[in-house]
Structure formats: structure tokens, C-alpha cells
Symmetry: C2
Subunit: 376 residues, 2 copies
Amino acid sequence: MSARLPFAIHATDGPARTGTLTTPRGRIRTPAFMPVGTAGTVKAMLPEQVKASGADILLGNTYHLMLRPGAERIARLGGLHAFMRWEGPILTDSGGYQVMSLAKLRRITEEGVSFRSHIDGAEVALTPERSIEVQRLLGSTIVMVLDECTPFPATHEEARRSMELSLRWAARSKAAFGAPEDAFLFGIVQGSTYADLRAASAAGLLSIGFDGYAVGGLAVGEGQAAMLDTLEVTVPHLPADRPRYLMGVGKPSDIVGAVRRGIDMFDCVIPTRSGRNGQAFTWRGPVNLRNARHAEDPRPLDAASDCPASALYSRAYLHHLVKAGEILASVLLTWHNLSFYQALMARIRASIAQGRLADLEAELLAGEAGGDIPPL
Amino acid sequence: MSARLPFAIHATDGPARTGTLTTPRGRIRTPAFMPVGTAGTVKAMLPEQVKASGADILLGNTYHLMLRPGAERIARLGGLHAFMRWEGPILTDSGGYQVMSLAKLRRITEEGVSFRSHIDGAEVALTPERSIEVQRLLGSTIVMVLDECTPFPATHEEARRSMELSLRWAARSKAAFGAPEDAFLFGIVQGSTYADLRAASAAGLLSIGFDGYAVGGLAVGEGQAAMLDTLEVTVPHLPADRPRYLMGVGKPSDIVGAVRRGIDMFDCVIPTRSGRNGQAFTWRGPVNLRNARHAEDPRPLDAASDCPASALYSRAYLHHLVKAGEILASVLLTWHNLSFYQALMARIRASIAQGRLADLEAELLAGEAGGDIPPL
């Protein structure tokens, strides 16, 4: 089967590209940032607010949703789109990453992974076939193969064994997926920070054939430089006409750095989690609204923004809400951060079209250095 | 000084009245329900959502705001309306009730009350004059006199001494208030459940003269029957042409029962606090969304409502959000409950105009008896 997900590339700037993915649920402008809707909600947001922020596509977490409320239940209720009132495309991960980071008593075999739920301790098995089944029950638009997220650091031998297991799981995922008309399947390149393993993983996935290719196993503690180095030795092995997705990344300079190396799609909890922790992104770097210096600052976070949370509330008010532990602090700062991230992606797309992406990267790095909180 | 707050009564149904209060900040349709915006936010709500629910006026808590972020700070930032982005009228309480319920090491003297902040332990003094000053710094539209909220139960002698202290504080509050053009002052009737003390309190307040009259010291454990009995012996002593406000009440049947006895204004944390606890009001009684019977119920809370939270999300989804502890559960259920309360007030106003308020009361009592959670 050849790839079926239409991907039109409109402009390039070195390895960076800007384009459009076309799905039955709507178009995705790339480079794209996908807000994370872990448990059937982008935390603290109404779906209308996520849409208004400029997001074309959400990410849902298979692990969380299969445990609560359950994939079969969501299917009986009409699928994840109807359940959470998001009509646009949804990408679901395979559940593998959260099994490693959240579940208890994990046991990995050739067949798959078994674990105990972090919610109620129930014993659960996740195989490549079951992950695909769950994602299809959810009604996901872009489905991810089950992989093993290789721990970091790993020896070359550990990383090779893990990558090869993920390749065999990728082939089983592809077989289980079939060729539905309303969904698309992405493979995931593993291999830790080893260039030869990344190349072998990419070659193995290409021989199976996927609608898109993700880079997994990064943003796990290796640092920005090693992450970008790994992209430089991985992306050239991926087909130019297929979308490339860097999983779980990142802060603004991570994203622009990865785009400069050919990445088209991103997801990350940073804007939402930071918002709930009182941190806001600005073009002059991140700020911590808990800091007393905001207590009488009448300025909004970004007077030029279309987002009400960014333009209409004073920093003094946001400071007060954060200090008082008010839910509205989480709502407003999440909304602002999601809008900032989408504004960032819009500037990245425009910069690629103008051939000036390097200028934007320099501005973002200066901003992160000048913020009032440590780099995220 | 005669009363200056315009109050037009459009229709009556026995002692119940429906009318309009006209303030420089906008009109208030009565009977009115004021959502509680304790710390400069109606918890979990954007001001636009509160407005869309149908609320004409909010309540702010002087005690909370004077402690954090401070009345002088809010004044420097342009007042509470600008601070929290609510353009309509705001009523602020005097702080006395929260001093009794939240503060530590309270000491009441003829001069006022001193206490330690529940936030940081700081020693704070609140006198009638300081309460008026704080409320004026906040920019309140309707200002309440400082009173002592008489504990329940109280002996006749305790209730008399407390009521007389509140009367002396009311006179000092009136003197401190003066006659500003943009704000109005309400007195508060005390006297526990003793008819003679309520009558004496009302007479004392009338001789001072206020723009409106509140009934305080109820909803403190006396029960619905005693509360309504107390209103029956209190309201006849209040002038018919002035608005009457029952403080801190209540559940739907409390409100309609009080309206039938001549009350025009209400505030209560029940719709907001219940929403954060997973409880929703419906015309068939309150429901607890945590209950497993909602887990696969595709129906919204109220398909006929204009409120998106009421009409567009399934009970199954709300159940999931409550179980998962998601912020969106608090947002949607608070929004729904505030919309329900405003729909209730609209039905009360229409029922008075039609002379059918007793029918609505019977319906609400049947609904509360049929809900799936104990009476609130």
C-alpha cells in the first residue's frame, strides 16, 4: 500500500518545509503544533477555545482513554470526536510511552506489554494489535504504531534490541491496521542517539510503508543539542514527501530548531502544564506570574494577540489569580500559552515561506535567555 | 437623605414582586440572583460566561479582597470592575460574615472587629468606617454596612445585644458612606429568629435610612421552615418601595419560598460550589454526575438551554470529567448551574407577572424531592 494521506508542500527553507495535510476531518497546516488532550480534554479548555487558539489537530492519549472511560465505552458513545466535541483531526499515540512513564509492574515481552493501571491497579495487556484496535475504537484520524520508548541513556546494544522489537511491532501494527478510508498510520523511528540505529529503524519502517513517520525516544533527558543532532542524522533517511512528527517536543526553541531540520508536526504538554503552574510564554521569553514584580503591572501578556486571555487581562490580575490558586488562573494561562504556541507556528510557517527561519530562531533563543524563569 | 437607588416594581403576586433596579452600571432585573465572585473571580468562570448565563450583578467578598490582593492595590489598578473585567453592577458584602466564619482569633468590641488573616496570620482591624472605605476603594456599586452576624442558636438576650451593636455600626456606616453618586448603601436586619428583635432592627435601620434592606443572620443552620417563618415576620416591617436582599440563600426552593415572602435579591455559593463538586441542578432535581448511572448517558443536562455547558455535552462526558478530576468538569458544571439559577430567576419573574408563583414553587419542591442527591 502506498501512502494515502495527502501532503502538499508549499515552500521550503533549507530542510524546513511548510505545507498542508488534508484529512477527512479537515486540513492541518504544517509545521503544526498539536495541543495534548490527555483524558478527552485539553486540560482547563473548552474545545471552542482550543479551536480559537488556531489549533488544527489535537493529540489524545490512548493509555489514559483505554483505562478511563474505556475505548469500547467511547465507541458506544460515538467516538472521541463526539465525546469531547472536537470535530477536527485527532492523532492518538499508541499508549506505549505512558505505559513506561505512568503504569506499575510493567512486563515487556515479544507479544506486547502488560502492566497495572495507575488508576485502579487493574492488570492490562497492550499489544500492537490491541493498540490499533483501541485507536480505531476512539475514531482517531492519525493512528500511531505501538513502540517501545527506549529508556535514556541506553547502551548501543540495548538501543538496538529495543529498536528491533519496535520494528517487529510496527509490522504487526500495519497488518492490524489494514487500509481504512478514514484513518492514517504513522511509524515511529527509534534508536536512541545512535545514528546507525536511527538509519536502520527508518529503513525498516520505509520497507513496511506508512502515511507518515514520527521520531520517538527524544526529549527524554538527552538535552536540546543531542536531540537536534539526532534529528540531523535521522531526517535524511525519511521520505521527503511524507510528514515527519517529533513526539513530545517541546519549548519554542526546540520546535524551531527541529523545523529547521525538517520536522512538520509536534505535540507537547509544556504550554498546558506551564499554564497550570503560573508560567506564560511571551515573545520576550517565559514569565512566572507568581513573581511579585507582576503584582501591580497593568499590562496584558500580549496586547497584540487575538486571544482574550492574552490581550484583555492585566498581569496584576493574573498574578492575583495564581497566588489565590483560582481555577481561572489555569484557564487563562493555558489559553494564552496555546494561543502563543499557535502564533509561533504561524510565524514559523510564514518565515519558511520568506526564507527567514534562521532569524526567527535567533529571536526565540534570545527571548528564552531573557525570560524570568529557568529554561523549561 | 432619602433613598436614591431607582426601583420600579412591574408586577406583584401576593408579597412577591418583580421589578428593575437601575444603577449607573446597568439594570438589575428582580428577583435577582447574584453569583459569588469571592476573590475577584466567579470561580472557574470567564466574565463573559457569567454574563452569558444571564447574571445582571455579581457579589464580591470584602474580607477576601482586602486581605489579597488588598483594596488599595485594586484601587490603584482601576477598581474591582476593571480588575476582574466585569462591567455590570457589583455588590460587596461588609466582610463581617467571613471574619466570623474564616478568620482566627477574632475579638469584637464596640469599635469593630480585629482578627488574624486566614491567609498569612496578619493582624487586621475592621471597623464600620474601614469596611465602607474598603468597599469604596473596590468601586462597589452596592455597599453593605458592617454588621455582626449573630451566631445560631442565640438566646434572646444574646441576639438583642448583637442586633443593637449592628444598629450602632449601621449608623456609623451610613455616616462614613456619605452620599456618593455612583454607589448605594444597604442596611442589614438582624435579630436571629426572634420576631420582636427583627421588628426592632428594621425600625432602627429605617430611622437611619438606606437604599435597600438586607435580611442577615439566616441560612446559618436554622432550617428552611424557620428561615421562611423569620422572613414572614421581618419583611412586613420593611418599606415596600425599597429592594430587599436575603443574604447567602440558597437552594431553588429556598429562593422561591423567600420570593413568595417579598425578597428581591439573593446571593449564594451553592451553584458554583456544587458545580465544582460534580453536582448539577435540573428541573427534575439535583443530580450527582459522579454517580455511575450517568456513565453512558448520551443526554445533555438540559437540551433546551441556551448555555453550551447545559445543551452540548453528554452526561457521560461530564461523568468522565468529574471522575478524572478534570478542571473542565468544574468549568462546565459551574457554567451550567449558574445558567440554571438565572433561568430559575427568569421563570420566577415570569411567574410573578402571571400570578402563578405558587405553581412554580410546587414544581421545584417536587424536583428537589426527586433528585438523586440529598437536599443541598
